[in-house]
């Protein structure tokens, strides 16, 4: 955000919003952010957002969980204190592995789920005591807000164009810290 001026453009219908996003981007205006009350399907694609890689993260975390479980079972049950339980001595990991499958599975899920959620919270910057940043309280109710970069554009003609896309309200925001 090189310049300080952005327009906050409110829509009150998701279909109108989707159409507007396509029109705005076709005119080469820059949408810097969108706030919506619920997931509008296809909005990320229409805005040109890249795919999220959280699923890949989760897969890697799952592999870490599986490794932790394997190392833990091998150390505890085979190396550190091998016991003969029910006539089945703990000689090698491979032979005793079937009994450890439940633990290996649970720890895989545990790591994959929790580390992915923590990654999500950190990447999206959400945590307890974090202050909400949606500019209008209606964006969690039934309004959709687009933040359009106004730098280098004539604000009057830009807002006229935005009203034509179906915007219900438009306001000009001066971001002094970026000026």
């Amino acid at each position: 955000m090189a310049s300080g001026n952005v327009l906050h453009v409110l829509y009150n219908d998701d279909d109108v919003l989707m159409k507007a996003v396509k029109e705005i981007r076709a005119k080469k205006y820059r949408i810097t952010e969108a706030y919506t009350p619920f997931p509008v399907h296809g909005l990320d694609k229409a805005m040109g957002l890249p795919h999220t890689r959280l699923a890949i993260c989760s897969f890697i975390y799952g592999l870490i969980g599986l490794s932790v479980a394997t190392l833990m079972m091998n150390f505890i049950m085979i190396e550190d204190w091998p016991r003969n339980i029910g006539g089945k001595p703990s000689f090698s990991y491979l032979q005793n592995m079937p009994a450890f499958v439940p633990i290996m599975f649970e720890l895989t899920v545990f790591f994959a789920a929790h580390l992915m959620v923590i990654t999500f919270y950190l990447r999206s910057k959400i945590w307890p005591f974090k202050k909400a940043e949606n500019p209008d309280p209606r964006t969690t109710d039934d309004h959709f807000l687009l933040e359009v970069d106004a730098a280098g554009h004539d604000i009057d003609s830009l807002s006229k164009f935005l009203y034509e896309t179906g915007a219900s309200e438009i306001s000009l925001i001066h971001n002094e810290e970026h000026a």
């Binding site: 009150n12 219908d13 279909d15 109108v16 989707m18 952010e33 706030y35 919506t36 009350p37 619920f38 997931p39 509008v40 805005m47 957002l49 999220t52 959280l54 699923a55 989760s58 079972m73 505890i76 550190d80 204190w81 016991r83 339980i85 029910g86 089945k88 009994a99 450890f100 439940p102 633990i103 599975f105 649970e106 899920v109 789920a113 929790h114 992915m116 959620v117 999500f120 919270y121 999206s124 910057k125 959400i126 945590w127 307890p128 974090k130 202050k131 909400a132 949606n134 209008d136 309280p137 209606r138 964006t139 969690t140 109710d141 039934d142 309004h143 179906g166 309200e169 438009i170 000009l172």
Partner: protein, 596 residues
């Protein structure tokens, strides 16, 4: 738009003339309004039961588990029955949120939040029993694989009991983050809607500062999907491992390869029965009948029918194999002088009637869609599934291979008290949840409103475009207009009283004129100089009715106190749920008193 298309043959999942804003209002109402009397009554009963159970737990722990009815032969009975029962109930929540998400079932949206809450609260109850059964609950950490002060001896990872520790704690914690992540946007909605600074602060913290950016939603959906994919095998593993507690033993009747799938099906069966029990009451108490509809109830009944069928087949298989094997121990557990005709015949037949026979009535569509009958069947299944675990645990233990050690189990008042206490604890948690949490995943319901809402289905069928239909006049005048830019406003052609936002309630201009005339008689509310009164203090007015009165521009005691029969009749006409008792309860008189 075509993206909202849904086959017309599908029944709507959201009834009534709902807009996006209506969903926020309806879901927020129980939190932003006051608790009614019935809530307090039920809460008090639950609290008393919980405290009684707490007393029994303290007595058990301080005296020893000898105060239970266990004996040398029957070392597991009431406690482990309760444990398995509660864990089983905890299955429907994750099933609804995870498995139905993977199958893209839209009907899950209205019920997943409460089902997940039920899961968490039920698993908490389940966890109590093994811990109390240890006798010295302060040593419960011994089940964790931590190097301890007795040398380096570790816990036994070959034991299903230890697998249980890992399975259930993973299940509880993953369910919790799944639930909470889904709650963030809904807490944010409450945070932005409430006018109380205290609630704003609390829900601000709870919502983790959720702002609803497009990127956040993209991640949110990905996380939900991956969590669902992880939770689906997880939910199956939990009850599979619980069944291993029995199946890997050598006790006749327990030593059975059919247990894992049969336990999982039974858990889903009992979990859905509990969801039905809770939701049928909740939809009434917090007026969410338009969201948790008869269609949802029927779908859940179909799941109950399917899983009940699996359970039935499992029972019959067990009886057949018991007989066919010719092994007297197996055979006796189920047939001949065993379960059906032995000293526990009543428990056996309670199970057969409750789990096999009564649910069969749900094959009839009319009964499946009957709310009262559904409620009764759900209660019966809850009872039947408790007896199932009692039968498996107690009957199988009561007559083992050594006739000299045959014994009977009868619970003491402490056994019963602890069980009642967990039911009380469960309802205390659930009732508190129903007052403070958004009980419907409103963001997700909004995302299916245009495809599955009754109103939008109608608009679509009349051939009109859905674009622009979500506009709600109530929110369009909500905030101060920015001064820097002129705003093109599409105000209505005729000007009505500005405090009236009755478009949802009335459709004709004539009615609107009548409302204007009524306000002329009782006075209009001026938001600039007056503050609204709490109309719910008038007996007969709840949060929902208050909101409707607000829509008609009635905000103050002064206005209500001027009402006469003429106004009551008009309200009767306009508001569907108007109790027709305003005259009898003498609202005007009450308001006159409240005014002073």
């Amino acid at each position: 738009m075509s993206s909202h298309y849904e086959a017309p043959i599908r029944e709507p999942l959201i009834l009534g003339e709902k807009s996006y804003h209506d969903i926020s209002v309806d879901v927020g109402a129980p939190i932003l309004g006051k608790a009614n009397k019935s809530w307090w009554i039920v809460f008090s009963i639950a609290l008393v039961a919980f405290l009684w159970g707490l007393g029994c737990i303290v007595y058990t722990v301080s005296t020893g588990i000898g105060v239970w009815g266990l004996n040398k032969t029957i070392g597991w009975a009431w406690d482990i029955t309760n444990f398995v029962w509660w864990v089983g109930i905890g299955h429907a929540g994750t099933l609804i949120s995870a498995v139905l998400l993977l199958f893209r079932q839209k009907w899950r949206m209205a019920i997943n939040r409460s089902a997940e809450a039920m899961t968490i609260f039920a698993v908490v109850q389940a966890g109590l029993f093994p811990i109390i059964h240890m006798g010295r609950p302060w040593l419960a950490y011994w089940v964790l694989p931590i190097p301890n002060q007795f040398g380096s001896l570790w816990v036994n990872f070959n034991s299903p009991l230890l697998w249980d520790v890992f399975a259930i704690s993973t299940y509880l914690s993953v369910s919790l983050v799944f639930w909470w992540t889904g709650l963030l946007p809904d807490f944010a909605m409450i945070r932005d809607r409430t006018k109380s600074p205290f609630q704003q602060k609390i829900y601000g913290i709870l919502s983790f500062g959720w702002s609803g950016r497009a990127k956040d939603w993209q991640r949110f959906e990905e996380v939900s999907l991956v969590l669902a994919g992880l939770a689906t095998p997880l939910v199956l593993s939990v009850h599979t491992i619980v069944s291993f507690d029995f199946a890997t033993s050598v006790v006749p009747g327990w030593h059975s390869t059919i247990f894992p799938p049969y336990f999982v099906a039974g858990a889903i069966f009992s979990g859905f029965a509990m969801v039905q029990t809770l939701l049928l009451v909740m939809r009434k108490v917090v007026s969410l009948e338009n969201y948790i509809t008869i269609v949802h109830i029927e779908f859940m009944n179909k799941v109950i029918l399917l899983t009940g069928g699996i359970v039935t087949v499992a029972y019959l298989t067990e009886y057949f194999i018991g007989w066919y094997s010719g092994v007297p121990y197996e055979n006796y557990t189920y047939l001949s002088f065993g379960a059906a005709t032995g000293p526990y015949w009543w428990a056996f037949w309670a199970l057969i009637i409750c789990n096999l026979i009564v649910p069969l009535t749900l094959w009839v569509k009319k009964w499946r869609r009957n709310i009262l009958w559904t409620f009764i069947v759900a209660l019966v299944i809850n009872i039947g599934m408790w007896f199932e675990r009692f039968d498996i645990i107690v009957i199988c233990l009561s007559k083992d291979r050594l006739a000299s050690s045959w014994s009977m189990f009868s619970p003491t008042f402490v056994d019963i008290g602890v069980f009642v206490g967990t039911i009380g604890f469960f309802f205390v948690l659930f009732l508190l949840y129903a007052r403070t949490f958004p009980v419907i995943a409103q963001a997700e319901v909004k995302s299916i409103l245009k495809s599955s809402g009754a109103r939008y289905k109608r608009i679509r069928e009349s051939g009109k475009d859905l674009a622009g239909t979500a506009t709600d006049k109530r929110t369009s005048t909500y905030a101060e207009r920015p001064a820097s830019l002129s705003v093109a406003s599409n105000a209505g052609a005729t000007h009505h009283q500005s405090t009236v936002n009755a478009d949802v309630l009335v459709d004709t201009e004539a009615k609107k004129a009548e409302i204007d005339m009524m306000l002329a008689r009782i006075g209009t509310y001026d938001p600039a100089t007056q503050t609204p009164d709490d109309l719910t203090k008038i007996s007969g007015v709840g949060p929902v009715l208050e909101q409707k009165l607000h829509q008609l521009g009635i905000y103050t005691y002064d206005q209500v106190s001027k009402m006469t029969k003429e106004e009551y009749d008009l309200l009767d006409e306009i508001i569907d749920a108007f109790p027709g008792r305003a005259e009898r309860d003498d609202w005007a008189g009450q308001a006159q008193k409240l005014k002073n």
